[in-house]
């Protein structure tokens, strides 16, 4: 469906993307995950045609669209801040893509109305067509934006931090709703997020980006369980780092076994309940490294000042160059 080859982009002296290659299969739901400045939004905008790459090619459905402007690419784009036309009703917003169409593809007004109604039903905003965007909640607005993008029957749906401006509860509901919608419609979709939880929950595959490069592409489980670079290990999920000869050992807070003869000893400095587990934080004896551990909450809460002995039962070793030298399991 999408094939990106060697995409580069500079903004003045700043290199935003260094040769990105990416292939997306039809119907896939892809997350571009990375911190701000990682180039994820720039990449999304290049796929959309809102921005043009300096080098490399963009293929959409086998067609080279590298120099095709956004208006001719037939992609749906959803903005973080909705970008709804505030002076138009919700129905007019949704029908905008149909009403600006010229030539023989243009639908008569009644058909455009009907299509807008149908889309509003799809995004569960039936009957709100005559409202103005300012009269809707954030979650409703983003659904209008989605309906508007879907109205042009895009071959691809691109979403730039679609939940970024919403509060936590609405975000969670909308996330689940979007996943269901994606499944039902079977549309190829790419969304940008800096929220790893969102990426892991929604995407079929996660593309982890950092400083204009792709660090890892994989299924959410693979990215979480087998991060290939120290950056991915650190950015996706929580990670403890221990210095080791020739590199670093990374392990998740839950990848530990408590043992009286454990190699490591944590001096507990802070304890709180984190969902189903106790989270204990503190410094390691000896190395003075800060670590976080998850302990079963069926047991008693660790006490402050207590020493917990443990060893990581599953960990990854990265050398100084950032290459994984071994995936270690004890």
């Amino acid at each position: 469906m999408i094939h990106l080859r060697g995409i580069t982009k500079r903004f003045g002296d700043y290199a935003a993307l260094h040769g990105i290659d990416l292939d997306v299969a039809p119907g896939e739901f892809i997350a571009l995950l990375g911190p701000s400045g990682s180039g994820k939004t720039t990449l999304l905008r290049i796929i959309a045609g809102l921005e043009f790459q300096d080098g490399g090619t963009v293929l959409l459905g086998g067609e080279d669209v590298s120099r095709t402007p956004v208006a001719d690419r037939h992609v749906g784009f959803v903005f973080q801040h909705y970008a709804l036309f505030r002076h138009m009703t919700v129905a007019d917003n949704v029908a905008f893509g149909l009403s600006v169409r010229r030539g023989k593809g243009r639908l008569p007004k009644a058909a455009r109305r009907a299509r807008a109604e149908e889309l509003l039903r799809l995004v569960q905003l039936e009957g709100l067509g005559s409202r103005y965007p300012g009269q809707l909640s954030g979650g409703q607005r983003q659904r209008v934006a989605l309906a508007r993008a879907l109205a042009i029957e895009p071959r691809l749906l691109l979403l730039d931090e679609p939940f970024g401006a919403l509060d936590a509860k609405v975000r969670k509901d909308l996330r689940r709703w979007l996943r269901d919608l994606h499944k039902a419609m079977g549309l190829t979709s790419i969304f940008v997020t800096h929220d790893q939880e969102e990426a892991l929950e929604l995407a079929d595959r996660v593309v982890v980006m950092n400083q204009g490069r792709i660090e890892q592409i994989g299924a959410p489980d693979a990215v979480y369980m087998n991060p290939e670079t120290p950056f991915v290990s650190h950015f996706v999920g929580e990670t403890n780092r221990l210095p080791a000869p020739g590199g670093e050992i990374h392990f998740r807070p839950h990848e530990i076994t408590l043992a009286a003869d454990g190699a490591e000893a944590l001096l507990v400095d802070n304890v709180f309940r984190k969902g189903a587990v106790w989270r204990a934080e503190g410094l390691l004896e000896g190395s003075g490294q800060f670590v976080e551990l998850d302990l079963p909450s069926s047991g008693e809460a660790p006490r402050l000042g207590e020493t917990i002995r443990f060893h990581p039962h599953r960990a990854r070793m990265f050398n100084a160059a950032g290459d994984q030298t071994q995936g270690e399991t004890r």
């Binding site: 959309a48 045609g49 809102l50 402007p69 956004v70 208006a71 037939h74 992609v75 749906g76 784009f77 903005f79 801040h81 970008a83 709804l84 036309f85 505030r86 002076h87 138009m88 905008f96 893509g97 600006v100 169409r101 934006a145 508007r148 993008a149 109205a151 042009i152």
Partner: protein, 278 residues
């Protein structure tokens, strides 16, 4: 203790308000009243007669004509400049932003002189213009040029902050939905900026009708031909025709009042807070 820094004593407050009101009354309200009372000193008859003289009517017509030409021009220039500055990156952008403010920072008399130096008989293009029998200085085209120059910043300065604040998302959404440039401008950008635009046009119009300095330099003060209302006021005043001078002046003052009311209505109705930028 923290309240002491922000709360003044009642006497202090009353004092400040009184000073402000007296100042306003003395410098704004009193002159305004004086204009109308002078104009109507000999009653409504002479007032209307003064406005009905051929020269006064010609001045009113000319002023309306100048505004009718220069305001739409500056509306288009202002939108184009703001659009370019806020939606695109290009070399020389900072210079353009500075240049837009030039008419505000240059004395109007100098602005007028620039056009005399360019298009006057001894000016840069003077010989060429004379050859082709074109008259710009001491004629209507010169007055239009000077007015356009003086009033250029009003629309642009109103729109640039507004369009910067609104960003490019709406336009990008429109083109991603298949709209072309014109459709995007007409259906998305223009409705987004319409009240700011109206506000800018209002201020632009007030200045276009009221401009004295620059117009005075290029007009040549030919009665019935190149005399605008502000110039006509000065001529009548210098000829000790006080009723006539104040009658025309009262029309200009009325325009100012209408502009103020319209501006207030716009601010109140649409929550514009553009006043802080002038």
């Amino acid at each position: 203790m923290s309240t002491r820094a922000t709360t003044e004593s009642p006497i202090m407050r009353a004092g400040l308000i009184t000073v402000a009101l007296v100042f306003l009354g003395f410098f704004l309200l009193l002159p305004l009243l004086a204009v109308f009372s002078e104009a109507l000193r000999e009653g409504a008859g002479p007032f209307l007669d003064a406005l009905h003289t051929p020269d006064a009517l010609a001045a009113i017509r000319l002023t309306l004509l100048i505004a009718a030409i220069s305001v739409p021009l500056n509306m288009i220039f202002g939108i184009a400049a703001s659009w370019a500055i806020t939606k695109f990156q290009f070399p020389g952008k900072a210079l353009l932003i500075t240049l837009i403010d030039l008419p505000f920072s240059v004395s109007p008399v100098v602005s007028g002189l620039i056009f005399v130096l360019l298009f006057g008989a001894n000016g840069l293009f003077g010989a060429w213009l004379a050859e082709h029998d074109l008259k710009i200085i001491f004629a209507v085209p010169g007055i239009v040029l000077a007015t356009v120059f003086i009033t250029f910043p009003f629309v642009a300065r109103e729109l640039i902050p507004l369009m910067l604040e609104q960003g490019k998302d709406d336009e990008e959404a429109a083109i991603s939905l298949g709209a072309n440039g014109w459709q995007t401008f007409w259906h998305v950008t223009l409705p987004n900026i319409r009240w700011g635009l109206l506000y800018g046009v209002l201020l632009c119009n007030a200045r276009a009708m009221g401009e004295f300095g620059a117009v005075s330099v290029v007009s040549g003060h030919i009665r019935g031909e190149t005399n605008t209302m502000p110039l006509h006021v000065e001529i009548l005043y210098n000829e000790y025709d006080f009723v006539g001078a104040f009658a025309v002046a009262s029309l200009l003052a009325l325009l100012a009042l209408v502009t103020l009311v319209a501006k207030t209505v716009l601010e109140w109705r649409f929550g514009l807070h553009a006043g802080a930028r002038h």
